[in-house]
């Protein structure tokens, strides 16, 4: 499973985008997923991401990210209603608990939890897409021209996630051999079992990252200006993708400043579609973000388009 989480060269159209165009596209997805709060917009972005993942032949890989993400989503969906009592529509009153009082669960808090878990999945899926379409060496080359130390941190961080996924299975195996059954027990027990895994996972991943950083330092990384061995060509496809990302970003910013893309959860739920402006901004954002996947389709099925981009 872990092997699937790494970048794999398949010679795909999306993998051949200029790293700048690809990174701006992914950056736009990330920024918009963080900026919008309207569940419809968040779901729309997820739809575009999944479509692009499909275009990059990565649905099987995304399934793995989904498995990891689902557990975290579930946690967000459960914890938020338990700790936030701001909603007006109370659907359950709990028993009186000393010091904590009487917990209440509101419809708004549940709804907010769901929206935030979709946002979480958006973010996880953007990282999945990053590993699917961006060659790590190209990303490092591009970023190191702008900010070397930051490039190192980003590159190490993006390598961290697949390495952690690889190690988690290993650590679970070890724990099983020592009498830990991850499928048994209450949610609290299971959480405790998993929490011990994450400690060690973080420590070992950081240790690996230190090893790589030391080896890079020994070869003078970060010591001054860099030259670039591999050459990336800027083609019409890259200009189109960049234009699409820019348009989506502009539309998103315009929408947010004009009351579209945001959403009121508390004290009472607002309307998902607050007039034609909401739909117009949503469609502009989604269509602009769909340009890479549309070009990918054209590359595969339309010889004319293929010759032009």
């Amino acid at each position: 499973m872990a092997v699937k989480l790494f970048y794999e060269e398949k010679g795909l159209f999306l993998q051949n985008l200029h790293p700048l165009a690809a990174m701006v596209f992914l950056g736009t997805l990330l920024v918009l997923a963080l900026a919008f709060t309207n569940p419809l917009y968040l779901a729309g972005i997820l739809f575009v991401i999944v479509l692009t993942v499909w275009g990059a032949d990565g649905l099987a890989v995304w399934e793995n990210y989904l498995k990891i993400g689902l557990a975290m989503m579930l946690l967000v969906m459960m914890i938020n209603p338990l700790v936030v009592h701001a909603g007006k529509t109370i659907i359950w009153h709990g028993p009186d608990i000393p010091f904590l009082g009487r917990p209440t669960i509101s419809l708004e808090a549940i709804y907010y939890g769901i929206a935030m878990s979709v946002r979480l999945l958006d973010i996880i899926s953007v990282f999945c897409l990053y590993n699917l379409i961006i060659h790590p060496d190209k990303a490092l080359n591009l970023l190191s021209r702008l900010a070397q130390k930051s490039a190192l941190v980003i590159s190490l961080a993006t390598r961290l996630f697949p390495a952690m996924a690889r190690n988690i299975e290993h650590i679970k195996d070890v724990q099983r051999m020592r009498g830990v059954d991850f499928n048994r027990g209450t949610l609290k027990t299971k959480l405790r079992k998993y929490s011990s895994l994450f400690n060690i996972l973080l420590l070992s991943s950081l240790e690996d990252a230190l090893g790589i950083a030391e080896s890079m330092q020994a070869r003078a990384f970060g010591s001054g200006p860099r030259s670039c061995y591999s050459q990336n060509f800027w083609r019409p496809r890259d200009a189109l993708c960049l234009a699409g990302s820019a348009l989506a970003l502009l539309a998103g910013v315009w929408g947010l400043t004009h009351g579209h893309g945001g959403y009121t959860f508390y004290p009472q739920l607002g309307y998902l579609i607050d007039g034609p402006g909401t739909v117009a901004v949503l469609l502009t954002v989604l269509l602009s973000l769909s340009i890479p996947v549309a070009l990918n389709w054209g590359w595969r099925h339309c010889l004319f388009l293929k010759s032009k981009i």
């Binding site: 790494f6 970048y7 060269e9 060659h135 790590p136 060496d137 490092l140 080359n141 590159s155 190690n167 290993h170 650590i171 195996d173 070890v174 724990q175 099983r176 051999m177 020592r178 009498g179 830990v180 059954d181 011990s196 895994l197 400690n199 060690i200 420590l203 070992s204 240790e207 690996d208 090893g211 790589i212 030391e214 080896s215 890079m216 330092q217 020994a218 070869r219 003078a220 990384f221 970060g222 010591s223 001054g224 200006p225 860099r226 030259s227 670039c228 061995y229 591999s230 050459q231």
Partner: protein, 535 residues
């Protein structure tokens, strides 16, 4: 070429100095073998040679280091990287790029070389290490030996005056080690100054001009290779391997042969290789370790603990491709220590994971202590089977050493009194009594391994599995661990360990299983294995 004068270094996080007044001179074109037990300060000294210390590490640095006439205090890593190139122990922790070409070009890009110069140097460096044809390959597709050769090429491309290698073969199978050592030997014969750190001294000492031994942050021996046999007591005292040169072997060959023939009454018909001779010596050394009739017997018959029948396994089972195991048959008995050896990718770890119930049996049958692993997964085999993985750091999850060792028995509901006794016994056995309150992750590599072993044996498993416990460990710790294996076997346990160290296998195992291409190609007693090796 290199001058180290009165060098002291202390890491900011530690109280004790890692280097305590090191003085070292290395001449141009010299091949220097630097050795010493774990934690003696070798790696710290290497980092001082290319400027990582003091420029990139916080700590107290006293003394001076000159490389090619440059004082490392006065020149940045950018300049020093072209003077002394450093190759690390684990190729997986130093290869950063996904393609061979980009990996070798990485250092040159950092030094802002023009593209044309990068292209020619990349090709030159790969040619030097015999990897020219892999220039466009993915680094993930390379074997361990090939990866390490690429790592050497990545440093060579900078055309440093000194090549510094930190245990480059410690995690490799014999094939990979041969590849890397071949490259080092070739570079040395071409006049490059090389500093090689290695625990497997006997394999490289014959090529070195000088041998330097460190202990406790100091140099305790600095002698020409021809003279090191006069200082064997230092190697013995520090628990290092004996550095037998080819010449020394020639002199003592007759002695070895006579011992061998006396033991077996067999006529030696053909000349023996150095490796074969070392193996035979190790085998004889180990005869005292092994009891006359190893294996626990029930009614005169050996008690079978593991039965593997026609086991097949593929990592791409759906497509029926890439078989890692191809019809393996194997029986293991109580009271037996078995070594599994073979090149990387031969199926050793896959087989071991089946014995631990970690892999689902796809075809064939695996029974451990009379239990079919199809119906008894790893969780249900806990307490019956214990496995220590190659990277012990991933096994240690508790907040302190005592809790770590107690974790397994607690899960198995061991009574508190017995648990306390058992944990103390295991801690004593693994020499960890003084470290019980330490966080396991703060221990040294050797201590972590011992802690992981203690955590497994505290569960009193019938079958103990060790995946490459000899990798990256100094011989003193290896021997202690192997002696423990013998002790466990003496108590009727079955011990299986994977190793690339044939001599350790010869010295401590009752049986050696050789794996190749997913199958068992030899299953023999250590005495017979010498014959297999010579075939």
């Amino acid at each position: 070429m290199i001058k180290v004068e009165d060098l002291f270094y202390r890491y900011s996080s530690r109280e004790e100095f890692a280097l305590k007044g090191v003085d070292l001179h290395v001449r141009k074109g010299e091949l220097l073998l630097l050795t010493g037990s774990t934690g003696c300060g070798k790696s710290t000294l290497l980092k001082c040679l290319n400027g990582i210390i003091p420029h990139e590490a916080a700590g107290r640095f006293d003394g001076n280091v000159w490389v090619g006439g440059m004082n490392t205090r006065e020149h940045p890593v950018r300049v020093l990287a072209q003077k002394a190139g450093l190759v690390f122990q684990n190729p997986d922790e130093q290869i950063f790029s996904t393609r061979v070409r980009e990996e070798v070009a990485f250092g040159l890009e950092n030094l802002c070389f023009p593209r044309a110069e990068i292209i020619s140097r990349v090709e030159w460096a790969l040619e030097k290490v015999g990897m020219r044809e892999f220039i466009g390959e993915s680094t993930n597709a390379l074997s361990g030996g090939q990866k390490q050769r690429v790592a050497v090429a990545a440093v060579l491309a900078l055309q440093p005056e000194v090549l510094v290698l930190d245990e480059p073969i410690s995690q490799m199978d014999p094939g990979g080690a041969r590849e890397v050592l071949g490259v080092i030997k070739k570079l040395s014969s071409e006049g490059m100054t090389i500093i090689l750190v290695e625990h497997r001294i006997h394999e490289v000492a014959q090529w070195a001009d000088r041998v330097v031994v460190m202990d406790g942050g100091k140099i305790v021996l600095d002698a020409p290779t021809g003279k090191i046999m006069d200082h064997l007591e230092i190697f013995h005292k520090l628990g290092l391997r004996s550095p037998c040169r080819a010449g020394t072997f020639t002199e003592t060959r007759q002695g070895i042969l006579s011992v061998f023939q006396a033991g077996y009454g067999r006529e030696e018909k053909s000349p023996i290789s150095l490796a074969e001779a070392s193996f035979k010596v190790a085998f004889h050394a180990g005869r005292a370790n092994r009891s006359a009739g190893s294996g626990k017997r029930v009614n005169g018959r050996q008690e079978k603990v593991v039965e593997v029948k026609d086991l097949w396994f593929s990592y791409d089972h759906r497509n029926g491709r890439g078989w890692a195991l191809k019809g393996v048959d194997l029986d293991l008995f109580a009271g037996e220590v078995t070594a599994i050896i073979g090149d990387n990718g031969s199926g050793k770890t896959t087989l071991m994971h089946h014995l631990a119930g970690l892999f689902k049996v796809q075809k064939g049958r695996v029974e451990v202590a009379g239990r079919d692993v199809r119906r008894h997964n790893a969780y249900r085999l806990a307490g019956t089977v214990g496995i220590v993985f190659q990277n012990p750091a991933l096994m240690l999850t508790a907040d302190n050493v005592f809790d770590e060792v107690a974790f397994g028995p607690k899960n198995l509901k061991m009574p508190p009194e017995k648990l306390k006794r058992k944990v103390s016994e295991c801690l004593r056995l693994m020499e960890l009594e003084g470290l019980t309150v330490y966080h396991p992750q703060t221990l040294s590599g050797g201590q972590r391994l011992r802690c992981a072993v203690a955590a497994i044996i505290s569960m009193e498993p019938q079958l103990v599995l060790l995946d490459e416990p000899t990798s990256g460990q100094d011989v003193l710790h290896i021997r202690k661990l192997m002696e423990l294996c013998r002790k466990l076997a003496g108590q009727g346990k079955t011990v299986v360990f994977i190793t690339h160290d044939h001599e350790i296998a010869a010295e401590y195992a009752d049986r050696i299983i050789v794996m190749q291409d997913g199958g068992i190609c030899a299953d023999c007693a250590p005495g017979e294995y010498a014959e297999v090796m010579s075939l």
